[in-house]
Symmetry: C2
Subunit: 478 residues, 2 copies
């Protein structure tokens, strides 16, 4: 009758603990060394960090984000101060509340990164924790990168482990994100493998996040990422102070998979640890629209550019898509809001045809412009067997464009822009950050430029300092 059991001594449990997937994963996260991470993965992680900064800034002014920030200031009580930066307002607080607020902020604009196979958004739960603890401990850029990679590698594998059944009801970025955040925090706190396992246990038993909020458009998504980051950080700090967690929280008989998945595969937890770098498989979001529209958007862009088509040259467009795209996008015919427009194929293709890009500003300023609405009505979706068979491993984009002068032009992309094989350049990431910072009014162009100057050198900093100001601690060694 566990509900009324007391805490027994710990002795027997440790002697019973043998090697198992949770311990293997925890040991990997605790011992991951910067020098063992391939250079290309380090470079990609820096790019993911800079890309995350843009999303974190973009949360400024968003109602759910500002509400969580007000809560955090009230919960902390005393006049806020601390070593950690809150990116939306540049205030400083403790690691716990900085992780909470930056975690809430960086998932709002829906421009943060995503790992396709695990359907997990790593940046929004990993980097708020990595930045807060690195700033608090004056950690080196090398440890900052190693901690971030630990969070990505752990979170992506746990997301793959829990499988599709988990994602059907649970918001993986909230549930799995808690343990990814704990892995990142634990690495920066220098936890031993056993302590890291304790942190996984305390994080996994707090894993939460249900999709129900989507059905009536509640604000829970920001709460999920805020608390995944904060709870994961808490779990690691508790473990550093001797707080014991379940040793089999992932695969145990009363653990996460037992309670929250019906198709879990423990082998995925340790899939090629140390040789497969899942961090590098992470996709950047390019267009600020539902990811299901991106392949067709890029395919249309290819046709428009190759044939130098103006929007008025186009009579109709057929987007050849997988069933999932029809299921998600089919509902919206005439979007009435920016949000709905991001789920409307015609609007996205219209914006791309007119501006070559469907970003937050393009949506905000023109999703319902007459020209976009006219283009929208000439767009249809058609199920495509090849595209559907390749999904979700590959997101193929195919469109057929019929011009007003009767030409029929086919466009195709095998990976939408932002996917690993078609990743964003540093110039494109910088441009995206400038756009997001300007959109939210979170930084002037000059401030964003200075921020970028710091951020590209994060791995070389002897001590991670301010995001906005080059500090005496943050000496670039390059």
């Amino acid at each position: 009758m566990p509900a009324i059991r007391t805490n027994p001594e710990r002795t027997d449990s440790r002697t019973l603990m043998n090697d198992h997937p949770s311990l293997t994963l925890a040991t990997f996260a605790a011992q991951l060394d910067f020098d063992n991470i391939p250079h290309a993965v380090v470079e990609r992680t820096v790019n993911l960090y800079v890309d995350w900064l843009g999303s974190a800034l973009a949360g400024k002014g968003a109602r759910p984000v500002e509400t969580i920030a007000r809560f955090a200031r009230g919960a902390a009580g005393a006049t806020q101060h601390g070593p950690c930066e809150v990116l939306i307002d540049r205030s400083r607080t403790t690691p716990y509340f900085a992780a909470m607020i930056n975690g809430a902020a960086s998932h709002f604009a829906e421009q943060d990164d995503v790992h396709n196979g695990s359907v997990f958004h790593p940046a929004t739960v990993v980097f708020p924790v990595a930045l807060a603890l690195a700033q608090a401990a004056h950690a080196s850029g090398r440890d900052f990168i190693a901690a971030a990679v630990a969070g990505y590698e752990v979170g992506i594998r746990i997301g793959e482990f829990l499988g599709r059944s988990h994602y059907k009801v649970f918001h993986t970025t909230g549930t799995v994100g808690t343990i990814a955040a704990a892995a990142t925090a634990g690495r920066l706190l220098g936890l031993s493998p056993t302590q890291m396992l304790d942190a996984f246990g305390s994080a996994g038993t707090q894993a939460s996040g249900l999709w129900e909020f989507l059905r009536d458009a509640a604000d829970s998504k920001q709460l999920h990422t805020a608390m995944a980051a904060a709870n994961g950080l808490m779990a690691a700090q508790l473990a550093a102070d001797g707080f014991k967690g379940a040793t089999h929280i992932l695969e145990g008989a009363k653990g996460m998979a037992a309670g929250m998945s019906s198709d879990a595969d423990p082998a995925r937890l340790v899939d090629r640890l140390g040789s497969r770098w899942a961090t590098g498989e992470t996709s950047f979001k390019y267009h600020a629209a539902c990811r299901h529209t991106h392949p067709a958007a890029d395919a249309l862009l290819a046709v428009v550019q190759k044939h130098r088509l103006a929007p008025r040259d186009i009579a109709k467009v057929v987007a050849h898509v997988h069933q999932g795209a029809i299921d998600v996008l089919g509902a919206v015919v005439t979007p009435r809001t920016v949000h709905q427009a991001k789920f409307n194929m015609g609007t996205v293709l219209g914006l791309v045809a007119h501006h070559g890009y469907a970003g937050v500003t393009e949506f905000e300023q023109g999703f319902d412009a007459d020209s976009i609405a006219a283009f929208r009505d000439n767009v249809t979706m058609a199920f495509d067997a090849e595209v559907d068979a390749a999904y979700p491993a590959r997101w193929i984009g195919k469109v057929t464009v019929t011009t007003i002068d009767g030409r029929v032009l086919n466009g195709r992309v095998d990976e939408p822009k932002g996917d690993p094989g078609n990743t964003l350049s540093r110039d494109e990431i910088a441009t995206k950050l400038h756009r997001l910072a300007a959109f939210a009014g979170a930084a002037t162009e000059g401030e964003a430029a200075r921020l970028l100057g710091n951020a590209w050198h994060i791995a070389e900093q002897t001590q991670v300092g301010s995001v906005f100001e080059a500090t005496s601690h943050a000496t670039a060694l390059a």
Copy 2:
């Protein structure tokens, strides 16, 4: 593809929202008025509050509790101050951290109350929130009581709703406790029914707590109650500030039952709301042992007292129990620790035969004394069909005692001490609190007496003040 959807406007969701169990329950919690609560339920709630104070004090010095308290002080950062009392050390902090620490403390000694049907421990998640917010807002005792009853009524019904399948893997006091805490907080914050529903949504999407920790005796149980209280309070404070939650978090297609139960019954959510007072069905823990030992312990006590038996008069005892007792207690033959002793029928009956009570002090000082060990070896358990058939609705206790002079004496109790039909008197509750306070060194006898003087009058206080000191705000009107 929900993982990359943005937050749409809220308009359509509100128009779509019709009456449903979650809304009915939220409306009940938001509108529960002290004057509509039967006097007997108010009196019982005061008793449950006083009983909870003893458990909260008993957490002082417990490693997992003190670790969470250290984390909270670090997360808050600045020198701690605030309107809310932390009972283990009488420091003051904000409602969030007071709820967190008092929630961790009051579930440690395993003497806090339990509702049999829902297998939910209400006090440890409800009273930390009620006390913290009442102290912060100088709420009246009447509102304090109404808020506590709202938490009990909501939590017990959600626990019954989620059913046995939920409890198999999830620690109901952690998961359901989050919403019970939100109901209590929301009532004290004066949330509207719609805001209360938002609070339920934000609480339910944070509901967590897995039993996996029990398999290796980790510290998660304290984390579960700490965060259920803190997250529930957070959910209500967010709702008061306009943060939107899922409107069908309990019964929705992607809500708690969908993700965490296979036998949920929505009818239980609104079972006789306002006429059935589930608060009064809550059991007090009398002996500090596994609840499965309580019926036999009380039955033995009845025989010993009726026949004036000394321990040396007893040759053997057979405890007639339900199968669940054999399953849980059968494993421990010779207890090596206090914890194991609390799951050993022979030890519990030995302590009862010698001291008339098996409390924290009796266990700590004598669980392995020669006299207790000798008695233990003369105790056996036997399956009893009548007892098993009545369980879990009724916990019948039956023992057969054979004396050294050959008499065979049968003892029986139909409800173990502490159950609703055999509840504790105020004297017994006060004695229990004095024992727990002394055991943990959390209050002197004089301090405990003054605390009790305040606590028995909580419902009459114009403003809930300090637990320890009668304040100018806390005028007893009696």
